[in-house]
Point group: D2
Chain length 254, copies 4
């Protein structure tokens, strides 16, 4: 199989972990990394991460001419872990057939519309929680609810003490299962727990639990890689990670 | 919806719990219960179980003329929680279009062939572990393995101290996930735990757990009811509980 | 060791399970069972429970002369799983040196005062939740809080859907750990879960969980037996199950 | 309270996390850090870790005169997270009343004897697994076993896939509970789980679980700090972390 070529926006805490995952995956090639600052410009992400070869040359938004950049540095997929504004820098990349995986969680309306406009020209997958496990948990929970509509359902989410608000992922689980989030989500806040989500289904004589534990942020990289591979044979459109997961689940039955 | 009419073989520890579940389900009607002994013959299962109406008249194998019984006491579905020999008593019921749900776990070859022969004439669902939850756990686990083939998998089963052998259900999970049972099943034996099965999927940065806890044997009744309802619009054939669950899961995607 | 002789008040759902536990414990002898009704009067509890010997003759409150009963039927310990009024029937038993284990949960003031008055004459242990496990969970949690006072604490209790109010046991855990129950208890209500209590201690880099799962009400019998044995060498006074458990824990350190 | 002064051996992956914990604890002062290499010599550990003040000046074993070092840089406690040989560098520190906390896991006989010799002159606490949680888990488990000697016990340990051997901590738990490790430890190896140890106590009608989850290696720092504080008022002797934890637990009962 030919390698899928990747351009990565973002090289902060999460971005650099994602870069590492891409470099380690032999099916993918990290062609370049685009940063907001000029830090490490011209160096290779691979070297910074401790690899012994050159992969993922680092560019800076500040010194890049985006009129020509994508022609000279064409990739199969752009993965974006940077910020809501970066879509402005790659909004024309779709004309070249470049696919987009965006894991940005806080788009304003203007920038989100730019992303949506791209999906008229190229496949775009947008998911603020891009881990494989959470999206499986949601899909499997929807299936169990369908099989056993009378089951009682509670969502437990555990996070570190300082996380004040209810987990956005828990809210999405509740939404997708048609549950009132106030009543059905129980939030546990103690110590330094990275992040756990559990859906409990109670029947009179049996209990089913589906539980996802995040160990660290590299889970995002694996999700993005899964999304990038999945986008390769898709038509232009807007997709979610949930669709990527459920379409593969559905294919099991065909 | 018209009630589905049920005949039940078996009124022992499990059978009587199953009878209770059937009586409590307003979509079903328990027409009769067939016992091996003559105990409680002529009484109503409903009365013995504390209900205030007559439902589920008790017959004894010893005093029943099976040439005429099924014509006079036709039902939509026979549910069998008795013993491997009972299939001899209802082997001709398929000619009348009566469907079969068998939860017998230890057929010898001869009796199992009788059951298989019936499936040429009428829909037969056979499942030694007929709970909804376990069959969902298996199907969901197969799906996750498909999405994430590189995940490490371990099956933990917890049961009461005196259960000496590895859980048959755990062996089936291992089989269905293509895992070596010796290596991948961990058996916990302590105290009076009714029965718990958990499949753990480990990825480098996240863990997914699907866990089923049995609270008591009434879970079998609910599974059998689910199977009986599912059989109603099926063609003659041999089915498993796994198929019943997965077909409903598949229908979510169509 | 000589057998400890027991008289049991109550032979309902819980009482009969407690009787079974006592009969099965070779260190104990069930001398009699006192019932409110005249049902099974004169029979043996052991026979009703399926044993092949006579143990635990059944008496009825209605036909018993309590002036003479305890002299003729002296026991080491009375265990009470009946109702708040029974203390009236045994209030003078302390004069004969009979110890009391009361697992009654809803005493009114008058009857509770009778129980307290008995503790001036004989050892009395009173505990509305008399399981060994819950009392250990409380004591161990208090210890961890002492070792690690900065740990965040959450109590999760899981029970069947129909249990509307917060678990009394969870409230007691919160009280004993000096926690605001509204803020620190999370109640899960689904399906048919018998009863689970978990205390989670969160530190920045590790999490400790102590979890108690009730499998069925026989746990009460074991707790009562533990309490009865523990009372044997105690002086007259009012004791709690927590004290019985913690005193044994303390003895580990002396 | 006056600050406890600390000297730290080791500034590798674990050592630097431990340094961070010490700096953040207002009851402690990190006076110096001793490294094997000359890397960062003369800099301050605090600066390297992102603090805005000077704390923990870095020295190198290579350029240090240990004849005079401890007199010029006296501390209350040396904490050692470096390697089995470092004890040679501080073997005379006990003459100055400096206490030792050693978290080294693989001493050879010679170096371990040096450590033991020190305990004739000064308080030494030695613990290869120095987390508070694990030592509490062990002590609490011993207590439950004492209360309920008939309970069945299983130890489950979960770690990342690549950890081949049985967890040393699990082996210690088994040893301390007098259990055959082959029979009672179940090792789960999947994905990237940091480290979880669970002791399950099974009784016929209830189950107790005590579970410790490591989130990251900073847990070692907190344990070492706890040990250092605990050593402050102790007499010269060899102590274990288990003793430090259990003595505080015991003090609850006095």
């Amino acid at each position: 199989m030919e390698q899928i070529t990747i351009g990565l926006f973002g090289f902060g805490k999460t971005g650099s972990v994602v870069a590492q995952e891409i470099i380690e995956d032999t099916n993918l090639k990290l062609c370049w990394v685009m940063r907001n600052t000029t830090m490490n410009e011209g160096e290779y992400a691979s070297r910074i991460l401790g690899f012994n070869h050159d992969e993922g040359k680092i560019f800076s938004v500040k010194n890049t001419d985006f009129e020509t950049f994508y022609k000279l540095n064409k990739v199969d997929v752009i993965i974006d872990f940077s910020n809501p504004f970066s879509v402005n820098e790659y909004k024309n990349a779709g004309d070249l057939g470049i696919r987009i995986v965006s894991a940005i969680s806080n788009y304003d309306e203007h920038n989100f519309k730019l992303l949506q406009a791209m999906s008229k020209k190229t496949p775009v997958l947008y998911s603020p929680n891009i881990t494989l496990g959470i999206n499986f948990l949601i899909e499997a929970s929807k299936l169990f609810k369908k099989i056993s509509p009378s089951a009682d359902i509670v969502i437990i989410e555990e996070h570190f003490m300082k996380k004040k608000s209810v987990s956005g992922t828990a809210l999405r689980i509740a939404h997708d299962l048609d549950l009132d989030s106030k009543e059905h989500i129980k939030s546990i806040r103690v110590g330094g727990i990275v992040g756990t989500h559990e859906v409990i289904f109670g029947l009179p004589n049996q209990t089913i639990r589906i539980k996802h534990e995040s160990l660290n942020r590299a889970a995002f990289g694996q999700g993005a890689i899964y999304a990038a591979k999945w986008l390769m044979d898709k038509d232009k459109n807007m997709y979610s990670m949930e669709e990527a997961v459920s379409s593969l689940m559905a294919s099991s039955y065909q």
